[in-house]
């Protein structure tokens, strides 16, 4: 190399040399760094050799470790992508296309089992939950809690930091505190039952570390009388699964089989609906329901008997006695008119019979029911007992003992996991306060958290690793889709791991360790498959060997009063929307109309009109809203005050209340307050603290004497506004029912009538439809856009979308409503706006009571009708819009062009189905930032002043169109699935291409039960309904 001395930069002598050229001030000053930097040809480090052990680099071993770790981390593609990335990929990873969602398998732990899921993730952000249809226990459908759980992930009121004695602390401090706990500590753990295998491992480790660990499986929402009943009847515990699909005759004793609160409502609905096809050669199954409230299961019943919950034991005893498994006195319903017929029906069905008792019923009834099923031979077909290695300990007794210990000061540490005992257990708070170290792991700063010394934020199930078993015992993993939104948040197993070891135990490592033991050789391959699939194939619980103990049943029945008491009873159950209160801060669920009362943002004391009259209470309908009397319910000295709701069809003298309301969650967000001219504070549903704040009343104080208790009711106040999405429920139910019938909205027949006259739905047509539609061409028929050149030549024109809703299987469970909300970014408007009739749900479930045809006003039938946009071919909305903001697509859907809409609301007025929803305010302006992450990026978030409505999930249609177009093929049937269809546990919704005669929807439209609503208006809806057929027992008039 030739050095060219062009510029001499050697230091010159003298202070101000002439002709001095310099590159920087440090050069001029001749600083040390500059000379060092200038000494070499290349910049420092650039010419050094690779770092080796010798010169301070990583050792070979470290290198291998690091590379191994990065390989492992690369496997965690589900985790949030690194936030440091500010430039687009130079080389895009092969499996990632920006903006195209990816689905990951995971599971949601709920009610002690895992519910297998596929979760959609947009660029690392989970937005939508679906069922994992590959899983043996999943049909691909889900229920409303799974759907709504996405919103809980982004809940702005989630606890973000560790708290110590009310002050903000951090995880390190907490870890130090736990590791310093003496091993002589006496520990009580109150945890929701979990199926996690990893939890079982760390729990054993924890039990070894401390002197005494009392572990209480506590599940406040459902109680444990069912488990007690099984133990009493068989002397051992087992997991009970019901297969409604195999059942021909089903008797529900106060069991709400299809409600979200059930153990597996998805399977129950799917199984039940499979047996409800009136065209099937096997005939339909038959459902008898004996219940005190009016549940959606009661709405599906072929025969429904309203009866006080406290008297159902007597009914069960009478049935058992008729079937020969009970020799005692059956009590008040011993000679009930139904007994012989129901028993005969059950006996005929034999192994295809099924009797189910509700969670609220005492252990004795569950034991009796187990005995009946055993006698009928149902075990192994409709009832299966699985060996889940559950401890035989009675959780209630354990809990009582633990509370006694705590109160006596014999406990040093209490750890509450995924439970909220201060809120749920009356009197727990006092015992809790006597413990020195009170540690709570939870998602909110709630009732228990504010009383605890240490509060650790809990991860959402989509944020942390976990595992467990599904309903039938198939082991699966809970895979996180996003790194915890709050760095301090930890999962249950991590928490117990810390207690077990005193050091940080990463959940991922713990779960892998558990599975390593299980999967054995070639672990990595097997593990990858398990994570990918969400479950381990080909495994599950074995069936448990159960032998009935008659004496056990008898002893369980002891103490149950079969005589039937006069006076009013209160029945306390988990809420179908907020469960035990864990979903109380979920705005989607708070605004979800209760499936039967249609009440939102409140819990109410439901009673039938006769009971209300007897008690001298009621609800006044004024200007479209119910202003209810407030009653005080008193059970053994504890009382709560609730507004009254009049629900027809309930048992006399029975008052129903639900748990989970009246939560007290501390929100750290500032309350919004705006100037008088600005209504942002009014429209901000999230602006008044936590969502759950001020909503309803906690009825847990009434549970001291069990879930069914005699109650004294007195009126304490009146004029309480109860918001309901359906205006006329109780007060003129009869009148509305007649209108529904004469307008042919909901058409029903019995199976005999159907067989005699398969076209019964045609008889339901309202009077004017004497001629065919074709005789009355619409005004614009000649130039209807559907025939225009642009339409016909469009590629989309090949598919003509339509939907069929089977009213025979729809239970009205509400899952579709939440799924629609999650998929389509539907906003929540709050109680007051709902009471003003401004709820935004695109899909609503219309509930009607029907009397007549053997049903009296006191004991009406209940029917549910899902009501999405009907996508009329001759849409009245399109013809009146002055700016063409709602138009027809070439594929036959009615589309809403949000950015063209000026908001005249004429379309909504002219919609005979009233499915259009108007944005009266800007609902997204005030939305907390974290909730924006829950939005589906494929669906426009609507602004103020525009109309919106069901789009048939047009984003999904176009997504499928895109794929088919790239692959240069036609769309296949079943490729497009709407959100409501996908979630429906009962398979009541079929969607597809009407122009394809072989598509499922085309075939279903050929059913003779098919009809369109308001057909006589000639609007030609693309949504058809299939009339309901009931299967009553001919011997039971």
């Amino acid at each position: 190399m030739i050095e060219l001395p062009v510029l001499d930069d050697s230091p010159e002598q003298g202070e101000h040399p002439r002709n001095r050229f310099w590159r920087s001030i440090s050069h001029l000053e001749g600083s040390q760094e500059f000379s060092e930097m200038n000494a070499g040809e290349f910049l420092p480090g650039a010419s050094n050799g690779p770092a080796t052990e010798g010169n301070g680099g990583a050792t070979r071993r470290q290198f291998i470790q690091l590379m191994g770790a990065s390989m492992a981390m690369a496997g965690l593609t589900a985790c949030r992508k690194p936030i440091e990335t500010i430039v687009p990929y130079v080389r895009q990873p092969e499996d990632r296309v920006e903006g195209v969602p990816v689905q990951y398998a995971t599971s949601m732990p709920f009610r002690g089992t895992l519910r297998p899921l596929l979760v959609e993730s947009f660029d690392g952000r989970p937005t939508k939950v679906e069922g994992n249809s590959d899983h043996p226990d999943s049909s691909g459908a889900t229920h409303l809690f799974e759907q709504a759980s996405i919103l809980s992930l982004y809940d702005p009121d989630r606890l973000g930091t560790v708290r110590h004695d009310g002050a903000v602390s951090d995880w390190n401090a907490f870890r130090a505190a736990v590791s310093e706990l003496p091993t002589s500590s006496r520990v009580v753990v109150i945890a929701e039952p979990t199926s996690s295998m990893t939890m079982a491992v760390v729990r054993r480790q924890m039990e070894q570390r401390f002197a005494s660990v009392r572990w209480v499986d506590y599940h406040g929402a459902v109680g444990n009388s069912a488990a007690q009943g099984i133990r009493a009847a068989f002397g051992r515990s087992a997991r009970v699964n019901h297969d409604l699909g195999a059942a021909r005759v089903i008797v529900s004793l106060d069991a709400d089989l299809f409600a979200s609160t059930g153990p597996d409502p998805v399977a129950a609905s799917a199984g039940f609906s499979a047996g409800r096809d009136p065209e099937s050669m096997h005939g339909m199954n038959r459902l008898y329901v004996v219940e005190s409230g009016y549940s959606i299961t009661g709405g599906m019943a072929d025969h429904r008997q309203r009866m006080k919950s406290s008297e159902i034991a007597s009914f069960a005893a009478a049935l058992a006695s008729e079937l020969g498994v009970w020799d005692g006195n059956a009590g008040v319903h011993g000679s009930h008119a139904w007994i012989s017929e129901v028993a005969a029906d059950l006996r005929n069905a034999g192994s295809s019979a099924l009797v189910v008792a509700g969670d609220n019923q005492p252990a004795g009834v569950h034991a009796l029911v187990a005995a009946i099923n055993d006698r009928l031979g149902a075990v192994g077909t409709t009832v299966t007992y699985l060996d889940n290695n559950e401890s035989a300990a009675d959780a209630s007794a354990e809990l009582e003992a633990a509370i006694a210990d705590m109160a006596a000061g014999n406990v040093d540490v209490v750890l509450t996991l995924n439970s909220n005992p201060v809120y749920e257990i009356p009197g727990f708070g006092d015992a809790f306060a006597k413990v020195e170290h009170r540690v709570h792991l939870g998602m909110y700063l709630d009732e228990t958290a504010t009383k605890a010394t240490w509060v650790v934020p809990q991860t959402h199930y989509l944020e942390a690793w976990g595992d467990g078993t599904s309903r039938s015992g198939v082991p699966g993993v809970v895979q996180p889709l996003i790194a915890p939104l709050y760095a301090d948040a930890h999962s249950e197993i991590e928490m117990v791991g810390l207690f077990a070891t005193g050091t940080d135990m990463p959940g991922y490592e713990m779960v892998r360790a558990t599975w390593r033991a299980q999967l054995g050789n070639s672990f990595e391959t097997a593990w990858q498959k398990v994570v990918h699939d969400g479950f381990a194939e080909g495994s599950g619980f074995g069936s448990a060997r159960m032998s009935l103990s008659t004496s056990g049943v008898r002893s369980a029945m002891e103490g149950i009063d079969l005589a039937g008491a006069d006076g009013v009873e209160v029945v306390i159950s988990a809420d179908q929307k907020v469960y035990d209160g864990r979903f109380a801060n979920n705005a989607w669920l708070q605004e979800l109309p209760d499936p039967t009362t249609k009440v939102v943002w409140d819990n109410v004391a439901q009673m039938n009109p006769a009971t209300a009259e007897k008690l001298g209470v009621g609800a006044k309908l004024d200007a479209g809203n119910y202003f209810a009397d407030v009653v005080s319910l008193e059970v053994s000295g504890n009382s709560v005050s609730l507004p009254v709701w009049i629900q027809p069809g309930m048992a006399d003298d029975s008052v129903h209340v639900t748990l989970g309301y009246g939560r007290n969650i501390v929100s750290e967000r500032e309350e919004r307050s705006t100037n008088f001219f600005d209504l942002d504070d009014y429209t901000d549903v999230y602006g008044k603290g936590a969502i759950s704040g001020g909503v309803g009343v906690n009825v847990a104080p009434l549970t001291t004497s069990g879930r069914i208790a005699p109650v004294s009711v007195s009126k304490v106040d009146e004029g309480y506004l109860v918001a309901s999405t359906q205006d006329h429920g109780a007060i003129d139910a009869l009148h509305v029912g007649e209108e529904v019938k004469s307008r042919g909205l909901f058409r029903t027949a019995t199976i005999e009538e159907y067989r005699a006259n398969p076209d019964f739905v045609k008889g339901g047509e309202p009077a004017p439809l004497k001629e065919d539609w074709e005789d009355y061409p619409p005004l614009w028929e000649a130039n209807h856009p559907k025939n225009s050149e642009e339409m016909v030549s469009s590629n989309y024109h090949d598919n003509q979308w339509g939907m069929v809703i089977d009213l025979n299987t729809c239970t009205g469970c509400n899952a579709c409503v939440v799924a629609c909300q999650a998929e389509n970014n539907i906003q929540v408007v709050g109680k007051e706006e709902v009471s003003r009739g401004r709820e935004m749900h695109w899909l609503r479930l219309d509930r009607y009571f029907v009397s007549g045809d053997g049903a009296s006003y006191e004991d009406p039938q209940m029917v549910i009708q899902p009501m999405p946009c009907q996508h009329c071919e001759n849409a009245p909305c399109e013809q009146v819009c002055p700016v063409a903001a709602t138009v027809h697509s070439p594929d036959g859907t009615n589309q809403m062009i949000y950015n063209r809409c000026i908001g005249t609301r004429y379309c909504a007025n002219n919609c005979p189905f009233k499915v259009r929803r108007f944005n009266f305010f800007n609902w997204t302006k005030t939305l907390p930032e974290s909730l924006h992450m829950a939005s589906n990026p494929n669906v426009t978030v609507r602004s103020r002043g525009v109309m919106e409505k069901c789009s048939f999930c047009i984003q999904r249609i176009r997504g499928a169109n895109k794929v088919a177009n790239v692959e240069n093929r036609a769309l296949e049937d079943g490729e497009v699935v709407t959100a409501c269809q996908q979630v429906c546990p009962a398979n009541a919704i079929t969607f597809g291409d009407l122009s394809n005669p072989d598509s499922a929807v085309s075939r279903r439209r050929e059913s003779d039960r098919r009809y369109e609503l308001l057909a006589e208006l000639n609007v030609k809806p693309r949504v058809s309904y299939l009339g309901r057929v009931r299967n009553p027992n001919p011997n039971l008039a």
């Binding site: 479209g624 004429y906 909504a908 189905f913 002043g945």
Partner: protein, 482 residues
Amino acid sequence: MSTASTDKNLAHLADFHDEVPLVKGNLKFHDITEIVSSHTEKKTPFAWYGAFSLALAGLMLLLGMIAYLFWNGTGVWGLNNPVGWGYAIVNFVFWVGIGHAGTLISAILFLFRQQWRTAINRSAEAMTIFAVICALVFPTIHVGRVWAIYWTLPLPNQMGMWPQFKSPLLWDVFAVSTYFTVSLVFWYIGLVPDLATMRDRAKGKIRRLVLGVASMGWTGANRHWRNYEKAYLLLAALATPLVLSVHSVVSFDFAVSIVPGWHTTIFPPYFVAGAIFSGFAMVVTLLVIARKIYGIENIITVEHLEKMNIIILLTGTMVGFAYITEFFIAWYSGVQYEQYAFVNRMFGPYAWAYWTMMSCNLFFPQFFWFKKLRRNVTFMFIISIFVNIGMWFERFVITVTSLHRDYLPSSWDYYTPTAVDALTFVGTFGLFFTLFLLFLRFMPMVAIAEVKGVMPEADPHFYDHEGDGHHAEHAVEPSTQQ
């Protein structure tokens, strides 16, 4: 010249024109000019300021309510899901209806040679224009995104996006704007000779200049009169179908829809009759006050008012007949939705509104069968207020009761207006009276030239035996000469 021969002449002329003279108090041409012009020339009375500040306060209230609405959104009103149209549309139809009398009086009665119209047509036309302005406020502000309202106009744009011409709302845009334009031009043409009269009397320089420009060089020349009469006749012929079309088109907003209670073929004639009914009631309300305060009882006489009351009686009965026909058709059609909608109107949650409408519109005007009552100024004022209320309720009943319970009982709800709804409506009265008071203050409230045309002196032979009419004794001392 004997008085006997004058009397004879007058009696002859009275026979020729009408049984009762249209102008009373033995007024001469100049008296008319004096009486009408003086109110625009004299010092503003204190009472006017009082009334004007009240009206202005109402206008400010309207602007405040609109600002509140625009800031927050349509949710400040009481609308809900089944009831997408409430006060705004009710008020729109109400004001458009009121805006019917003016053009009817000036155009249709002109074509029918009803000379009594001359005394009232100017103020009735002013009322029309102001009422239509009030009406136009509502369709503009009732949309959810007011900043995009211009999309309803057929403006060429780069998207090639036109309004949807099948929508009755779009027809409304054209119908009401055409009606407004024609009414304004018609009113202005009629004003020209009177503005010239005022110009000739004007004292101040500015006043002279303004009136000079506004009267467009009118000199009263024969050629001017010929052109004027021709233009006026043509405009009257043009305005006449508009009177019928505008409210027919407004009624299409309802009739073209499929909402039970709206979808009714009787709507166009029934709405037009209703509009004339309410318009005349409003004219009576306003003129009963104005003629008293401004001392023009000899020009707008009880005979004028009586004739209007007869029209109120006629149109009110027509409207009542339409109500009953609707019921009959609902029953006769056998359409149960229609039947339910009408039974629900009578006995449903809004029965109070229905019976208010029925009593105000059908029952109360029947008092006008009695001559004594229809000539009693106080009584007719009360009835006219009732009719105004009744006609507002008619639109309320049609709009709200039909929407709140339509096809699917699950979506039934109740509409309750908010304070903003009510105050916005009150505010439009502020707008209306602000404009009307300005009109009374600065414009000739009676068509001077036209009234003169129907006076006996207008007969070409009136002065055959007398002077030139300017030197006869005046019944009223000219105020400007004081």
